[in-house]
Symmetry: C2
Subunit: 340 residues, 2 copies
């Protein structure tokens, strides 16, 4: 910066003013400074800026690179932060690197607020963290939180999927659960509520915990295949579970959607696989990101009480769902239970 000032015969603060687009410089000077900066290949030193700036305008986000939906949200948060004039530091957590390490890194950068994507931390741990710095948890299971929570309406989303299947004529609708997922409880409740609403018997397929969601889906398929009859439709807790489910069913010779309709959740890349073409609940990552960043900013600006924000969902209908082909006489167990 000194080089630019010397090169032009002006003071360094003036250069600083121009480069930050602040009032206090003539249009001509601005032009000259900008040109000189470009010529000299000037690149502001972020560390120096961060150090001196009163208003750091810097957010931190913790995410798991190996989780698809987290990646989609990170991209949108990057965008949302930029639009509001904030920079963003990314910290990765993984099996090789604890979330605590990632948080320490961001604390070292003196972030104004931390955005935790699908954090595996407990509510108590996040409450403790939020005493040091404003915290926004995206897709967290909730509870008595002193931090902000942003999540999509998982119960509503699963309800939409059930409504869609019922409208197609399905009555025998199973649910593939995923207990270790942050939003799983809300989604399961959505399934149970929707089935009750339609006066249908719920059929939750329990999966032994652990491993990835695809594995849970595959296990669920095995459980269903071991029964006397398959349900006519399966609602999966997310797209990855649906992928594992469909893959295993296909391999067993079951036709999708002719024999079984399947729905997912996330509208992820997996859902768009042409052989899957999965009907899926869409939680808009852009909306989640906007709300997360807005929460962070209003906390930074002084809001005290924690906020919970629920973003709307929609159902993207693809070809993995269709009308059930079985006749009423072939109705399987759970429906028969309802009509003794």
């Amino acid at each position: 910066m000194g080089d630019i000032a010397a090169h032009l015969g002006v003071s360094r603060p003036l250069v600083s003013i121009v480069l930050r687009d602040q009032p206090g410089a003539s249009p001509e000077t601005r032009e000259r400074v900008r040109r000189a900066a470009k010529e000299l290949g000037y690149q502001p030193d972020r560390a120096a800026q961060m150090l001196r700036r009163k208003d750091r305008k810097h957010l931190g986000a913790v995410f798991a690179p190996d989780e698809g939906p987290s990646a989609a949200i990170i991209e949108q948060i990057q965008l949302a932060a930029g639009e509001r004039g904030y920079s963003l530091s990314l910290a990765a957590r993984s099996d090789l690197r604890s979330e605590a390490t990632a948080v320490d890194e961001l604390l070292g950068y003196r972030c104004d607020a931390l955005i935790m994507i699908s954090s595996p931390m407990t509510t108590a741990e996040l409450n403790y963290l939020s005493e040091r710095v404003p915290v926004v948890a995206v897709a967290h299971r909730g509870g008595r939180t002193s931090f902000d929570v942003v999540h999509s309406a998982g119960d509503v989303g699963i309800g939409l999927a059930v409504d869609h299947l019922v409208a197609l004529g399905h009555r025998d609708i199973a649910y593939v659960d995923g207990r270790q997922m942050p939003d799983s409880r809300r989604r399961r409740q959505g399934y149970l509520a929707a089935m009750t609403r339609h006066r249908l018997a719920p059929d939750v397929v329990e999966i032994r915990k652990g491993g990835y969601m695809e594995e849970a889906g595959s296990q669920a398929a095995s459980v269903l295949l071991a029964r006397k009859a398959l349900p006519t439709a399966v609602v999966a807790v997310n797209d990855h579970a649906a992928l594992g489910l469909v893959g295993t069913l296909l391999r067993a010779g079951v036709s999708i959607p002719r024999d079984v309709s399947v729905t997912g959740y996330d509208d992820s890349r997996a859902a768009r696989l042409s052989f899957l073409d999965l009907t899926s609940v869409r939680q808009d990552p852009a909306q989640l990101a906007d709300q997360a960043v807005d929460c962070a900013l209003s906390r930074i600006e002084g809001r005290r009480r924690p906020r919970e924000h629920v973003t709307p969902v929609s159902l993207v209908v693809r070809s993995s769902t269709t009308t059930p082909r079985r006749s009423p006489a072939q109705l399987s167990r759970s429906s028969r239970t309802r009509h003794p």
Copy 2:
């Protein structure tokens, strides 16, 4: 830091020395300083450290959060950098955020070197960038580079897959290409070389470019299904292509591996899906990461000439490959061509 010094009645530099584990403090003093730091919840300011430090020991990495293999490598690079006493800044690129923006961010942090994961930049662009800062490209297509390149032996890996299939008795082995992939040319050459080596006729399935690799796999499946006879085995350029291929084949009623054996590349999560259980070439992300970080460090320490490092690969055999079931009389086109 001043608080700790005042609290203990020592000078600030002494505190700095202790916290950096440098010589120049008595064991008792170290103990007292460490305890005080913990009590006061001291968190070093990374911006101040970066600014003042002569030896920044800071790397930057650009990656695409929505690409699975990139995510795996990032995790390992994080680890490898930490083991060598370097910190790492992550910069995300995506459809929403250009790689140039990500690079500028890292340049602003004054990284000692940049590691580009599966960069979409051309060799010329990376050459230009490497004039400003040491650059290591992981999984780049190569060419006349003035920067370092680290990649797995894609040609060898595909060769291993072909060898495996030939050993099982396959002679009619198709290849699903993926032109837009960084390593695709090397892999295709590996296929062609291996087929020549075994005196078999190559059968490269051309895919119209664009879209994700799963889509390429699905399209390839459609092409194969339109033929009079399927090959007995298909080698896919990566796991995602194999996933799309297998999904579409399964949906068409083809049994895997009974009718068609399939191999992938990356040994990714997709390969381990229980319904896929894909035989896949493994490129060790930890080795790629180690080599990338080593390249970066030796460049920082003064090495001038660019280096290309090829990491070894291995074949992970799973249940997607087996002996061909067809009799010689049913051999399909490409094999028949060889025996007129």
